[in-house]
């Protein structure tokens, strides 16, 4: 295995484009090292991104949004008060990943690019309307987060493409978001269902919403029908029931020992309601 430490994303992309064997980028390594250890993925080229300047930084952008470096750990994300104030749902999703030790290393970008349908930070990013900046040998482009997952363990990134930052939109007035997951224990487990809700209120009425579901289909997805169920309402019981129905209807889950199809489908509705209530309360400043 060749271990590379490029000092720019252009170099990282070039290295990846020129590599012919199994290639992986190294952010926190909490997926890559586990896969190496299991023999599931034995990279010929491992491209460590942590020596690139700025990758551990969180910066406010000119429009009031946020740019998050690809090596920012969960622990760092959670310690950033202003970011937590703007996007508590995004941060709480990432903070659910693993233990304290895993939090010291794991990143949003690695969670997204590992491609797990149960990745805990991804529904929050999708609901927030986050995007990623992709660097390729030909240049840079910005892509919505929901366009990256492509089924278990897969992404839409082509060889030679590397994510160079995560971008969160400006929070703006009256906004709130939340993420909840169901696991059979209280810590250190894989989501059986995950749900993120992001909304905006004006005078108690919801004017915008985005809802994303995790672990209930091969890809983490944005569910427009859930958003439609609550936009224009003040999150009354009828709206919550419609939201739950839309969430359950969007499920196409696996059936395993940790959750049957029936269970996952029902819990998706329950979590959607609960996450929406939290997001709504946050949006109203309660």
């Amino acid at each position: 295995m060749r271990y590379h430490t490029p000092s720019s994303f252009d170099d990282a992309a070039r290295l990846a484009a020129e590599a012919s064997g199994v290639t992986r980028f190294l952010a926190g390594g909490t997926d890559v090292l586990v896969q190496m250890r299991a023999g599931a993925v034995l990279p010929d080229d491992l491209i460590d991104l942590k020596k690139i300047p700025g990758v551990t930084e969180i910066a406010q952008t000119g429009d009031g949004g946020w740019k998050i470096g690809v090596a920012v750990s969960g622990a760092r994300l959670g310690a950033h008060e202003a970011l937590v104030r703007d996007w508590p749902g995004v941060v709480e999703g990432m903070e659910l990943v693993g233990s304290t030790q895993v939090q010291g290393r794991a990143t949003l970008t690695g969670n997204l690019c590992n491609g797990s349908p149960a990745a805990d930070s991804v529904p929050g990013l999708v609901a927030a309307g986050a995007s990623v900046e992709i660097t390729a040998p030909g240049g840079r482009r910005i892509v919505p987060v929901e366009d990256i997952p492509a089924g278990p363990g897969k992404t839409t990134l082509a060889a030679g493409e590397v994510i160079s930052a995560i971008l969160l939109p400006p929070r703006g007035a009256g906004g709130g978001d939340a993420y909840l997951r169901f696991i059979p224990r209280t810590e250190m487990d894989i989501a059986v269902v995950g749900c993120a809700v992001n909304l905006r209120v004006d005078g108690g009425r919801i004017t915008e919403a985005r809802v994303a579901l995790g672990a209930v289909s091969p890809r983490i997805e944005l569910v427009p029908a859930c958003a439609e169920a609550i936009i224009g309402t003040s999150l009354d019981d009828a709206a919550l029931d419609a939201l739950a129905g839309a969430a359950s209807a969007a499920c196409n889950p696996i059936d395993d020992k940790r959750g049957t199809v029936e269970f996952r489908t029902e819990v998706a509705g329950v979590l959607a309601k609960r996450a929406a209530r939290i997001a709504y309360a946050r949006a109203n400043g309660d």
């Binding site: 909490t30 491992l46 233990s99 304290t100 030790q101 010291g104 290393r105």
Partner: protein, 160 residues
Amino acid sequence: MSKMHVTTTVNGDEAEFLADPRETLLDCLRDHLGLTGSKEGCGTGDCGACSVTLDGELVCSCLVLGVEAAGKRVETIEGMANGNELHPLQRKFIEHAALQCGFCTPGFLVAAKALLERNPDPTETEVRYWLAGNLCRCTGYDKIVRAVLDAAADMRKEAA
């Protein structure tokens, strides 16, 4: 496979070793530096027996490559006692019988020390969540949690 020369700081002293880039920091500590206090329980980030700090951040050394430690500060269980004088956490683990086979103990101690550096007065719940990534198959955890809370109380008294 060409090995890489790594220079790092371990428990305050400069350390050097030659590492295959696939080797974990845990392998390098144990096999190249002879620091066998950090244990391998799982090798996959689940048990915390390999806990060390890297530039002050608590991590599983089985999930860090040895080559990634270049130019960084690593603190291991070997740096915890001051000569023959045990760290308060070590004393309290003995007093409370917070270990049986002892395999998990270095990881718990390193993790608990990192907690008390950030939060000298944690609640029981905070201790339990912080240590959720450290597994023990002998003690049932209760004695470990008591030992950490008691050590924290002692350290607050000492500091006052």
